[in-house]
Symmetry: C2
Subunit: 224 residues, 2 copies
DNA sequence: TTTTAATGATAGCAATACTATTATATTAAA
DNA sequence: TTTAATATAATAGTATTGCTATCATTAAAA
């Protein structure tokens, strides 16, 4: 199945909504491809423009700079995970079951039943694992936070935290556990691939399944 | 008390050992000050050179580029934490007690009895909290890892993991928990300061004490 | 005292991150 | 259908960054 998904992302992220035009969608689509391929540091608007047969100036009409483009993508990703969790927890009542679905969504960031037209979610997930934290580790945090550019991350955290609380109302740090679950999932996937000494996941295949198992092991100890 | 500390950092981090000359030490000292003040992104060798009345070219004789300078600082930090843990666990036999010292060292990154001459450890800690992960989230990870540029992080993780295992030999993921303890400590301090919705730590003062308490709470649930 | 090593001074170059201007399509409103 | 508005392309240009090269000067070692 394929659905047309359009998230309402904070307007401060862009100058012109890229979801509303062909060029805009091409910018999103190929920035995902390109950042995935060469990394955020060596990615720039000139290269992107060449790739999509457009110009630097045209891209600047959509995004103020490449940092905000990354932040846009990461916000899209956060919204995507929220959507995934909602989608997969429909009709699920048991809180423990819900939490397992959260973990699954964070680790796999995809479902077989759901596809997106112009964003390669798999590659976006890898970008988030690789470069994600750079989007909110910047001197501009306070300013960007004050205009709502991290709202989706907060929403995601709140959503997970409330599930954690319904699994165990006594647990003292639901928000911390929620954000840590997200960060830990990304980190451990990164470590498994690049710095295996920093993790206990050593398989080259089925890493996601192993990380999923591990996170559930942690959650079990923490919440029971 | 003040001790002259010289860590043996991997020679691949620098061109000329900055610990061995006045200029070298000034580079280290003022890069800490400057990155702390303006952030890593806007920091560059030209500005640093102006600050220490030297030249760009001279700094390039010590470090290939600013990324490797950051990685040098972060490696120094990792070694510092290892040193701190060793220092503070001398004569401590109880594993649980040791683990508490680990947490304390990670969160505070300092002791009153110990000072370093030319590095402001407090500011370095803040740099690590703010920019630390950028040092190992780069397209060059594999290459840099293969020549040992992340060795200190691995050593630190191994050290903590072994303490975790002696607290509870049944615990399945000691390395993961070790690296996550480090990452979580930094993350939660960052969130408490800049994105408080992502954590349960809300105090502006005594954040460290709160984070310490929180990490011990987590560890307690995980290992008992 | 001569040689070597470290630093400083200066210059320059290619790439990056933008901005500005004008031209040309495309679309929408009158 | 014409006109007006809007989106994109083409081109140019500027300030900054990241880095290299060269040569002069100073300080330290042999």
């Amino acid at each position: 199945m394929s659905v047309k998904i359009k998230f309402d992302l904070n307007a401060g992220l862009y100058i012109k909504d890229p979801q509303d035009s062909i060029l805009g969608r091409k910018i999103i689509q190929f920035s995902v491809e390109m950042i995935h391929a060469i990394g955020f540091e060596s990615f720039n608007f000139k290269k992107l423009a060449a790739e999509i047969n457009s110009t630097e100036a045209s891209i600047y009409r959509y995004f103020e700079n490449k940092h905000l483009l990354l932040l846009y993508l990461v916000n899209w990703y956060w919204e995507w995970i929220i959507y995934l969790i909602q989608f997969n927890t429909v009709n699920v009542v048991d809180a423990k079951e819900k939490l397992k679905i959260v973990v699954h969504s964070l680790v796999f960031a995809t479902t077989e039943n759901l596809m997106v037209e112009f964003i390669n979610v798999n590659k976006l997930h890898k970008i988030v694992v690789f470069e994600g934290t750079k989007a909110y580790h910047t001197v501009e945090v306070d300013k960007e936070n004050s205009i709502g550019l991290f709202k989706s991350y907060k929403d995601l955290t709140a959503m997970i935290a409330s599930i954690i609380t319904s699994v165990n109302p006594e647990f003292k740090y639901p928000s911390t556990l929620a954000s840590n679950l997200y960060e830990m999932s990304n980190n451990q996937l990164y470590f498994a691939n690049y710095l295996p000494k920093l993790t206990d996941i050593h398989l080259k295949t089925n890493q996601e399944t192993e990380v999923e198992k591990m996170l559930n092991y942690f959650l079990n100890k923490l919440l029971n």
